[in-house]
């Protein structure tokens, strides 16, 4: 299934603003992050498990177990610093 992946702030600078990713049926947010890390290169560096990365699914803060769906909008970004 196709999901749209968006990046913000320092992750956007490293990986670009967005990409479409083909994820296996039944994938979760955490599995998608692991698949992106497995590509190596910059993805592996900035999405590494030791890094503070937060995520959203369909524009709601979400965590690794969240199940993905066809057409989902996923986002990865650093801890937020507004206000």
């Amino acid at each position: 299934m196709k999901v749209r992946v968006r990046y913000f702030a320092s992750l956007r600078e490293a990986l670009g603003t967005a990409e479409t990713v083909d994820a296996p049926e039944g994938s979760t947010l955490g599995a998608l992050r692991d698949a992106l890390v497995a590509r190596g290169g910059r993805h592996a560096e900035v999405l590494a498990r030791g890094r503070a990365v937060r995520s959203a699914l369909d524009q709601v803060m979400s965590e690794d177990p969240a199940p993905l769906h066809e057409g989902a909008e996923v986002a990865f970004f650093p801890p937020v610093t507004g206000g």
């Binding site: 968006r6 913000f8 702030a9 320092s10 956007r12 503070a52 937060r54 959203a56 524009q59 709601v60 803060m61 986002a75 970004f77 650093p78 801890p79 937020v80 610093t81 507004g82 206000g83």
Partner: protein, 159 residues
Amino acid sequence: MTGVPRVSIQAADFDLAAEVAALRAFDPGVGAVASFVGTVRDRNDGSPVSDMELEHYPGMTERAIESMIDEAMRRFDIRAVRVVHRVGPLRVGEQIVLVAVTSAHRGQAFQACEFLMDYLKTQAPFWKKETTPEGARWVDARVADDAALARWGITAGNA
């Protein structure tokens, strides 16, 4: 209720007096207004700061703040809320964020205003990049901000 939108994300500056006047207009039940304005400070983490750039996640940011306001309305006996957050380039001394709350009595307005700021700091998707003499750098999230939200019984998990 007023006809004022609850949330605005904008590049333009805001006028505290005008925002508060609009928020409490036509509501004679208001007996208290509490507001908070955050501004760009000239130092951060030991370095002088000249200006910053604020990025957000269009759509999600508005949605996140709307749900925070819903939560504040459930928790506190308040009448209306207004949140304005600026994005884009900002210089030292400029206003960044406004949270204003009206209620019948002061206690609930004070509390709801603080709750909303604590919530926004750790759960609304905004990112600050500040310019220092050493160059531009992304601002680090603070553990203290997570602790502030924890006082309200909410786990932030941000920093």
